[in-house]
Amino acid sequence: MYRSWAISEVIRTLAHTATTLSYPVLMAGNIHLVDRRGKQGPIDPRRQVEISTLLESIPEAAVIVDNNGRIVDANSVTSHLVGRTREELRGMVAEETGLLAKAEDDSASEPIVQRALSGQTVRHDRRVLRDPKTGVVNELLVSANPILDEQGQPIAALLIARDVTELTQLQRRIADIERHRAIGEMAAALAHDFNNILDTIAQAAAVLETSLDRPASERKPLLDMIHNTVRRGAEMVQRIREYLRTGEGASRPIDVCTIIAEAVELTRPLWQKANAKVTTSLTPVPNVSANAADLRRVFTNLIINAIEAMPPGGRVAITCGPHENQVVATVSDTGIGIPPADQKRVFFAYFTTKPRGTGLGLSGAQKILLSYGGNISFHSEPGKGTTFTIVLPAASG
């Protein structure tokens, strides 16, 4: 059985895929070569030149695979990325290039080539490429489009892999900066809390010193006080450590109420310093599937934002409860509210109204929540305050 494979279709597919990657594709004019060939037959040399030219014009790794998943052609960016010549690549099964390897914790993704060959369009699937010789890991965003014949049947697929290793590293570094900034803002308040802890220990020790001749029953409460205060200090250090841990790693079943309670404790020195009151109303909720450090960061940021939005003596109310198959949490403040002009930019990266802000707190929070299938929204009344609402799907099972 013969099928027509129109070059114009390849161009359209190339253009479509490349546009989604925000790169222009050089469109060669006046190409209407129609080639008739068997599905597994040899490739017409003339058409191969056309396809090669098109592939070369794409500044990302671009690969065309036939409907057996074997590479018809690939560009030199691909050769460079996978360390094989174009001749070696031709005829290889696409998966063997390593371009389509899943990230270890990524169990959700299906084989990209099969999806494209079944007519689906794949957008920005995250993949990793490990160089077996050097061990270097490249992070890729792979897109794939089916190439259709005249009857609209997929006969091949175009894969485009964008190397986002540097971009990802940069994003991680920015996330680190954001995380450390929150601790920086709390540093003075944390130092105060530590001083209170040391104050209690020093004085309990002093009182103990004067009661060495007293019965053990009188000294016991002082020793307990020292032990408890030391535990309080250790818990504080633990909370800071947990907070500073990166948000990487697998998702686990997480109790959002526990995360909120931890974020409230972590920020306690800050809101006490601001003379603010933080109240929580937490109803037991089903677990969500997420990374604890990520969620802790979301709530810590929201509490810090709320405190900074309020004049001294304000109130922050935090709620958490189940709603249908979701966990819904709200963080409300009695602050100045968000001016209507700023409201649509709240989740934009780098948008901030704070003198020392990075504008990454809320955009980061949104990114985290979206990655767990959740979302964040807000309602703000200037002069009255703002409520942020976080929704996360309950973990199945």
């Binding site: 105060h192 809390d193 001083n195 104050d199 009182v207 205060t229 310093k273």
Partner: protein, 123 residues
């Protein structure tokens, strides 16, 4: 021996400070809120006040003012927020001590203040 009012919103801390001052021979009354401290200052007389700055219901300023309004009782502010206390209280209090405070230091300072204030009231 002197009568001292000791204020801190943290019950453990107030218990310890009372114990330290009592061991130094003073009669100490504990208070854990600004509101309660002001009531006590209005109903009884004290020779000195030792107070925290950030109290649950108000800041130490109200306590300093209440103590000073009554016969200029000497006041020591003991806080982790000494700089803030110093600015906000317009140096109304006699002394500001930064936490953590050494017990012996606290006793020495309170005794010195009592000596000075007695000398002033006698003088």
């Amino acid at each position: 021996m002197a009568r001292i009012l000791c204020v801190d919103d943290e019950p453990n801390v107030v218990t310890l400070k009372c114990a330290i001052l009592e061991a130094a021979g003073h009669v100490v009354t504990a208070s854990t809120s600004a509101h309660d401290a002001i009531e006590k200052l209005e109903s009884s007389s004290y020779d000195a006040v030792v107070t925290d700055w950030r109290l649950g219901d108000a800041n130490g300023r109200t306590v300093v003012q209440a103590a000073k309004a009554r016969s200029g009782t000497p006041v020591v502010v003991v806080s982790g927020y000494v700089a803030e206390a110093f600015q906000a209280a317009e140096p109304l209090a006699d002394l500001y001590l930064e936490k953590p405070v050494n017990a012996q230091e606290l006793v020495t300072i309170v005794n010195e203040l009592l000596k000075t204030s007695r000398a002033v009231s006698r003088g």
